[in-house]
Symmetry: C2
Subunit: 279 residues, 2 copies
């Protein structure tokens, strides 16, 4: 692991790091905020998965998470949204919603994506091992949150592994990629046309198929231009109601899809996570 930069901030250290990933075969960059802590102390870890086009940098610069993390004693990890670099195939048409910056947190099975686009395994196995080895992280206390495509990532990783993640929340998530244009394009591209294989990457389908977590927290702005066409929180509400999965879905009046929205409710989410992490 190489240190790209560290900056002291809000009584802690905001770092950016890179490493050669075995899963993606590329150099991967991520950020970690570590609050000041006692020697030998290990802190719980909140994972934040970002949305389409983003890198670790968007939330690191605009997410306004550091003050709350320092107050609550939480490590905050922000990975990238796809492999990057020479040799990583892109969609070739400059699309923002497939290829670079749009990994959708899947392990691709279709060529040419299958080699590098392994964000699921990267986040389920490789990066947690690195975080546990290199940072003062209590890996028995993890939680996950994300935005938009990263909200989809947080919900699906969280629902698939409730043993690992004690809290799961999202800002304006794609709740059912099977049922929206972004998701259909991504899942058909990365996984092919057998929709049975898509269900492990769809929060609503996972719940329909029996996945459960103690509770879910979702904030969604009512002025989000992607609300009706892509995000469709009503599908998550219906799936949760039908399955008896507890869900707190808050419609935030006048808020849009930007970090102006995310940053407004970040401290709320972190406090909710901290309760469930015994932080």
């Amino acid at each position: 692991m190489q240190t790209v930069s560290t900056n002291r901030s809000h009584g802690g250290t905001q770092g950016v790091y890179s490493h050669a990933s075995r899963e993606t075969g590329t150099e991967m960059t991520f950020s970690v905020f570590v609050p000041d802590h006692a020697p030998g102390e290990k802190l719980p870890v909140v994972w934040y998965l970002s949305g389409l086009t983003c890198t670790h940098a968007n939330v690191t610069e605009k997410g306004e998470f550091r003050e709350a993390c320092a107050d609550l004693g939480l490590i905050f990890v922000a990975p990238d949204t796809s492999p990057r670099g020479e040799g990583v195939p892109d969609d070739g048409e400059g699309a923002y919603d497939f290829g670079l910056g749009a990994g959708f947190y899947v392990d691709a099975t279709v060529d040419p994506w299958a080699r590098a686009y392994r964000m699921r395994s990267y986040l389920e196995r490789e990066l947690p091992e690195l975080i546990g080895a290199e940072f003062p992280a209590d890996m028995t206390r993890q939680s996950i949150m994300g935005h938009s495509m990263g909200g989809h990532g947080a919900l699906t990783l969280g629902l698939r592994d409730p043993e690992r993640f004690r809290a799961v929340s999202a800002f304006a998530p794609i709740v059912s990629p099977i049922n929206c244009p972004w998701g259909v394009k991504a899942l058909s591209g990365y996984l092919g046309e057998d929709r049975v294989l898509w269900r492990q990457y769809d929060a609503c389908a996972l719940i329909e198929d029996g996945a459960r977590v103690p509770d879910l927290l979702v904030d969604q702005g009512t002025a989000d231009t992607f609300l009706d066409g892509q995000l469709k929180p009503e599908l998550l509400r219906a799936a949760c109601e039908k399955a008896g999965q507890p869900l707190t879905l808050r419609l935030q009046e006048g808020y849009d899809h930007s970090y102006y929205f995310i940053s407004s409710f970040m401290a709320d989410h972190l406090a909710w996570h901290a309760e469930r992490l015994d932080a």
Copy 2:
């Protein structure tokens, strides 16, 4: 005035606006955050002046001021750092510390700068008139803060007009442009070689020459790479001690010159301003 964008954030409205400036002869862009407030209510105004290379956007995205402004009921105005656009002369060599992005909050008197580089008059007269006319602003309650070159701007505007500004603070300010390379380059370029004319644009010289405010708050990171060569807070401390000007100068261990530093102490500064603004 044109509205470039508005986003709901932290229980208020973050806007970006532009207007044709009579002072600079250019289109000028600025941002304003207005917390939700009662109909007819007017809120005090905090001015934030940015540093070299910045526009309104840097603090708007990374300053972490909105939560505190919403809690305290403060309007937050972030202007640009120079005129911009076709026809505005630049230094021609791509320097970051003179010309575009580096107006140093002066009214230039030397050609070719004198026509457009009028950031002093823009901030002392034109933009306050616009803010008072277009926003729910109580212009009898104003304060000012800034960073680096903008800290210099905040200190000098504040010291020159204590009737207008009830509070003055700075993050890592250039405290004496007369005594640092950035300042000498800028003031000789914009004002010529008569150093008597420079003193109205130098916080230490203004204090030596009799300017006073009730108190000053300055935060300075000890890991700031510009500390010894450019910023020299010890000059401000000496000038204040000699003149009996109250100053709280806080050296923040390990913090650098970035927005990771500014955002860490932004809420502190805003609370200090709010007390003095009866907010």
